[in-house]
Symmetry: C2
Subunit: 183 residues, 2 copies
DNA sequence: TTCGCTGCAAATCCTTTGCATGATT
DNA sequence: AATCATGCAAAGGATTTGCAGCGAA
């Protein structure tokens, strides 16, 4: 099980294996593809271990990010969000998000088109890319159809958009296969 | 001059043309390619107009973002940063950043490799991309050479990296031409 | 036993907001 | 004159931190 890999990572770094740390990891594992906030992880963890503190969640997340087990992302809604890297052993995980400015849904995409740019960067500037983050902002099908029915065109949508996303947004995951196969 | 375009935009939206708003725009125009924080813009603006308030800066920036004149970006250092869109009339501006985890320098890149993905998204999922943001994390040449001299390999660097960037980082701009022509 | 970890609460700090005043149309 | 913008100070809110007690090694 992956938990053993995690325990070994902790030990190698002289960090202690605690129930809280395992719980944070377990909670995130149970919500793959969602981009949870510290608060959300706290509430979820609390159902299993009511005495846990929010500060502990933050500290555990910070540590998990340092270990590259978890990635911190932001969709500019005022919260940091966290998601598990695909597996604990691989150093890199390609990572794209499509964020609907209409309904605030976050779609996770699995596709990597940055390799050419990254190679060029290394060759030409000596910049060695170890990770990347891609955010695509736009409008999903549902919102586009809704706007179409409401008679709004693209330009109008652009100007009625709040610059800040709302709280409590949904997240959705799209596998590469789905992206390539869907009608 | 571009300032007239901006004034017209304000009028069309029923917003007032004020000295403060013009000053914020002017200040940002004088620092193209730097990713200024609200505080930094405040300090710069203050040298020209000492009575200006920080809240006004925030409000002006919010408005400029809504008008798509300014873009809000974050490098996870706890500050929102703002940069002028290339020109006030174009709706889209392709935009990539390479962030050195060693010296925290932010390199701005001009290159767009996301078109294929965006087309696919629209075709397959009906998602219409209106904007995007790309962040590449890694190590610049200077830091790589420094680490090399210090005998650190890539894996060690990864584990000694703080998850948070320091304050007061420098920014640097790289034109597409430079990227393609440098040694 | 020795440190590191946890929980609680207080502190931080960027950003937003309320309100009276001042500027723009 | 009517309305919107500004400045100040206070509030807000996510995240961090100090510290005493606890738990893992």
């Amino acid at each position: 099980m992956e938990q053993d890999v995690f325990k070994k990572m902790l030990k190698e770094k002289g960090l202690k294996v605690t129930g809280q740390r395992l719980l944070v990891l377990e909670t995130m594992g149970a919500h793959l593809g969602e981009h949870l906030t510290a608060e959300e992880i706290f509430e979820l963890a609390r159902t299993k271990s009511p005495e846990i503190g929010l500060a502990t969640i933050y500290r555990a997340l910070q540590m998990l990010v340092n270990l590259h087990v978890v990635r911190k992302v932001s969709f500019d809604d005022g919260f940091a969000r966290y998601e598990l890297s695909r597996n604990l052993s691989s150093e890199r995980h390609h990572h794209h998000h499509a964020i609907c400015l209409g309904c605030k849904t976050v779609f996770s995409l699995e596709e990597d088109l940055l390799e050419p740019l990254e190679e060029k960067l290394k060759e030409r500037l000596g910049f060695d890319v170890t990770d990347h983050e891609v955010k695509l902002y736009g409008y999903c099908r549902v919102c586009r159809e809704k706007d179409f029915r409401a008679g709004l065109d693209k330009a109008e949508r652009l100007f009625t958009t709040d610059d800040k996303l709302q709280k409590g947004k949904r997240t959705m995951k799209i596998k590469k296969k789905e992206l390539e196969e869907s009608d």
